[in-house]
């Protein structure tokens, strides 16, 4: 069953490359949250009630509901509808995603030494690299936050890949991190949007001393 969610996760990444509307980004992030819940749920060996509540909190509550809700609020505040034309045409982005996917699947196939759950590593690696790529090609701060969240999801999967048991403290720290980051970036975006009437990153370079 885990494979189903892993492959669905890979497909969401392709849709990330395809879509150009901010609303769709938020939807996809919410879906990714659900998928992550599925991944973790089916990889738990025994259901410990504390673990379960924690996972529920992290994936469903935070990743699927709170963060998208907050991002949606930011989007509405700044009246963002469509992403600016990215630096790299979408056509090429899709090819890039596919190449990253293939490379990371092959890489995980070669990394098989028993120390790592390579099935999570496949999409985790793709997600991290693609998140970085996503930030590079987009001109908008909002999309940069989205890219950051994609990387974060990748790190979440990577923690599954590396640890045989869920290191709760690590997860807790990451959770707090993204929570704060999204909050701060959201406020920041709102301020920037109010000041410059646009969210293009080009304007940010004006802020430097």
């Amino acid at each position: 069953m885990t494979y189903l969610f892993i492959i669905l996760y890979a497909i969401t990444l392709i849709y990330f490359a395809l879509s150009e509307r901010t609303k769709k980004f938020i939807w996809l992030l919410a879906i990714q949250g659900l998928i992550l819940f599925g991944v973790v749920f089916f990889s738990l060996n025994e259901i410990d009630i504390f673990d379960f509540i924690f996972i529920l909190l992290e994936t469903i509550i935070v990743k699927t509901m709170v963060v998208p809700w907050f991002l949606n609020k930011v989007r509405k505040h700044n009246q963002l509808k469509r992403e600016h034309e990215p630096y790299v045409p979408v056509f090429y982005s899709i090819i890039v995603v596919i190449l990253i996917l293939m490379v990371s699947f092959l890489l995980s196939s070669y990394l098989n030494n028993g120390n790592m759950h390579t099935q999570y590593f496949t999409v985790a690696f793709t997600s991290i690299i693609f998140g970085g790529y996503f930030i590079i090609i987009h001109k908008n701060i909002f999309s940069n936050v989205v890219g950051y969240l994609i990387i974060e999801n990748g790190i979440f999967l990577l923690s599954l890949a590396v640890g045989s048991v869920m290191p709760i403290m690590v997860n807790l720290a990451i959770l707090l991190d993204i929570f704060m980051a999204v909050l701060i970036l959201g406020l920041f975006i709102n301020r920037v949007g109010d000041t410059f009437k646009s969210l293009k990153t080009e304007y940010l370079s004006k802020l430097k001393d």
Binding site: P89, Y92, L106, S109
Partner: protein
């Protein structure tokens, strides 16, 4: 007997310079027919006997030179002789207008070179000794150069010819280095036969690379292709057909011949050929789409087809390396059959393009249109060539591509992970190349031959002359024969493949498949004919009316202007591939207050990025460097004497200081 005839032809060819204009053509034709006769005897012998034919030809510098013909050589003899034969038949019609303008010597030289090109290519395929091989290889390059610059009145032509000649000589240097290296390392025979000794004991990759660069320049492998898209359009059409159909194949012949000597460490060689061939195919066809010069477009398609041939050969080598016999056999079979197929349809396309050029005096397809009404036969044959080059069923291109596909699909299961990934890229690459070829040839055919004429140049066009049509028919028969009855060609093909891999009997497994293909194609044609008759019967009872094309009920438009153009047809492809094809548009945008727009101009220009960055900019850099050095060349004798003294003194001082 054969050797005597060959030598006789060599001597008789000089006679071309002594006879009047009107006899020259028939004299050449006669000699070439003898050549075709000789090569068909040799081919017949080579395919019927198991051993390699070895004949003592002559002594060069006290070395005996042998003609050696195995099945691979025999195969190339067929390709060379068939294309040259149709070439000379076609040339009768094509050269007609030049009889008035060219002098006796110029024409004689042209025919002489054509004959010698044919002769030298035959020898290239037959000689194994390095010295003799390089000698005839050189003759081939020189005669081709003289043929390219036939239209000497155009300044551009000479420039292109020189460019071609220089690049060919770089190729010769590499091939020579390759031979000498192998000879110096092993001391075995100086030639192809000696290579296997070297490869048996050394890592084959470096020497293979040297040969690959040498032969790859000839074959037009990217990034060594930059002569090709310029030389083809500049040459007269029968010459460009021979160049594209055969001369570039001699590069492939060289690579194949070198490959026969390598028996270990083949994996990286195969991978290298496959990767470079896939790039060749994709880049070649992408650049072809944006061309408007019909012959330049066909030249880029040659690059693409060299890619397809290379894919076949690369897969074959990979099959040998990974020990997958199916892939090895079908890859080589597909690649080698595609060599012949490409020589057929590409020469047909060049001939028809040449026929269009003689009638309209333009190669720019944006100025053509509606030619199918003026030259229906030429249009039909161009269509056959276009369908064949796209690899569509019932034509020959499909068979060779099918063999390659078949090899790839059958070896999916037997391979490891890396094989599967390679095969995935191979299959998707071949599919995309095929799709783009369809895109390209729908563009060319529809812009050049269909619709309404776009300029006056089309109006006075007439049907091509009979000799041209005869050449078209000969090639089309061969194309349809391979396409409809592929089975007949599998026997000889398996003989050729046998040189590379011992399991060539695997081709026998294809018999039911190819039979069914023939049957399906037969049914396909039958249904078309039945439908045609049915429609004729149905329409006999109804009234058929002729009217103008539907233009949203607006009939004031000029039909010639309101058609789709080649630029606009290519545009949506250019939008997604501009990184490769590098199309620049120059136009003046509308002003916001411009209510009645003025007349405007719109220019598009495409350039070959690889050629620009890899060939032109280093060349320009070198040129600038030498320009700077040229300050020393003052043209005064005093200065030169001064240089001599400075040089002598320098030598003296350096010797004193024990530096030299």
């Amino acid at each position: 007997m054969i050797l005597f005839l060959l030598k006789a032809i060599m001597i008789l060819s000089l006679g071309l310079f002594l006879i009047p204009k009107k006899w020259m053509y028939f004299f050449t034709l006669g000699l070439q027919l003898i050549l075709v006769f000789i090569s068909s005897i040799l081919v017949f012998k080579a395919f019927n006997e198991l051993i390699v034919i070895k004949l003592h030809f002559l002594n060069l510098l006290n070395n005996p030179i042998y003609i050696e013909i195995d099945k691979l050589s025999a195969f190339f003899l067929i390709v060379i002789s068939f294309t040259c034969l149709t070439g000379i038949i076609y040339a009768k019609g094509y050269l007609q207008p030049y009889y008035k303008t060219k002098t006796n010597t110029e024409l004689a030289l042209h025919f002489f070179c054509f004959l010698w090109l044919h002769l030298s290519m035959l020898f290239v395929a037959m000689f194994r000794d390095a010295l003799a091989f390089l000698f005839v290889w050189e003759i081939m390059a020189l005669t081709a150069f003289l043929l390219v610059i036939f239209e000497t009145d155009k300044k551009e032509t000479i420039k292109i010819g020189i460019k071609y000649l220089i690049q060919m000589h770089i190729a010769v240097v590499f091939i020579m280095i390759g031979f000498i290296w192998a000879y110096a390392q092993t001391g075995a025979e100086f030639g192809f036969n000696g290579l296997s000794v070297y490869f048996a004991s050394h890592n084959p990759f470096p020497l293979f690379m040297i040969f690959f660069i040498g032969f790859g320049i000839k074959a037009g492998f990217i990034p060594l292709h930059s002569w090709l898209p310029h030389a083809h359009p500049a040459a007269p059409s029968h010459v460009s057909a021979v160049m594209s159909g055969v001369i570039i194949k001699m590069g492939i012949y060289g690579i194949l011949r070198v490959l026969t000597a390598i028996h270990h460490d083949l994996f990286y060689i195969g991978l290298f050929i496959l990767v470079i061939s896939l790039t060749n195919g994709l880049v070649g066809v992408s650049l072809a789409i944006v061309q408007h010069d019909i012959k330049k477009l066909l030249a880029y398609h040659s690059i693409e087809n060299i890619g397809i041939i290379g894919i076949g050969i690369g897969l074959g080598v990979l099959g040998l390396a990974l020990n997958i016999p199916t892939l090895a056999v079908l890859g080589f079979a597909g690649g080698i059959l595609h060599i012949f197929n490409h020589s057929l349809f590409k020469s047909l396309l060049f001939y028809t393009a040449g026929a269009v050029y003689t009638q309209t005096h333009t190669r720019n397809i944006e100025e053509l249109g509606g030619l199918i009404k003026k030259m229906p036969k030429t249009a039909l044959f161009f269509l056959i060539g276009a369908l064949a080059i796209c690899g569509l069923p019932i034509f020959n291109g499909f068979i060779s591509e099918f063999l390659i596909y078949s090899g790839m699909f059958r070896s999916l299961q037997s391979g490891s992970l890396q094989t599967d990934i390679i095969l995935l890229f191979g299959i998707s690459g071949l599919v995309i190349i095929g799709g783009l070829a369809i895109f390209c040839f729908t563009k060319v055919f529809s812009i050049a031959f269909l619709g309404t004429p776009r300029s006056n140049k089309v109006v006075q066009a007439k049907e091509a002359s009979h000799s041209m049509i005869l050449a078209f028919i000969l090639i089309s028969i061969a194309i349809l024969l391979i396409g409809l009855l592929p089975l007949a060609f599998m026997g000889p093909l398996s003989g050729i493949v046998n040189i590379f891999t011992a399991n060539s009997s695997l081709i026998q497994q294809l018999i039911p498949t190819l039979n069914t293909i023939s049957i399906s194609s037969g049914i396909f044609i039958a249904i078309i004919i039945v439908l045609w008759l049915l429609r004729a019967w149905q329409q006999k009872q109804q009234n058929i009316t002729l009217d103008t094309t539907w233009g949203c009920a607006y009939i004031g438009a000029n039909p010639a202007i309101h058609q789709y153009t080649a630029t606009s047809f290519a545009d949506n492809f250019v939008q997604i591939s501009n990184q490769i094809v590098n199309v620049k548009k120059t136009f003046k945008p509308f002003e916001s207050d411009e209510i009645f727009p003025k007349t405007r101009q719109f220019n598009t220009h495409s350039s070959d990025k690889i050629e620009n960055y890899l060939i032109m900019s280093p060349a320009n850099f070198v040129l600038q460097f030498f320009n700077k050095i040229a300050v020393f060349q003052t043209g005064k004798i005093q200065h030169y004497l001064l240089y001599a003294f400075v040089f002598i003194i320098m030598i003296f001082i350096l010797t004193l200081l024990n530096l030299i």
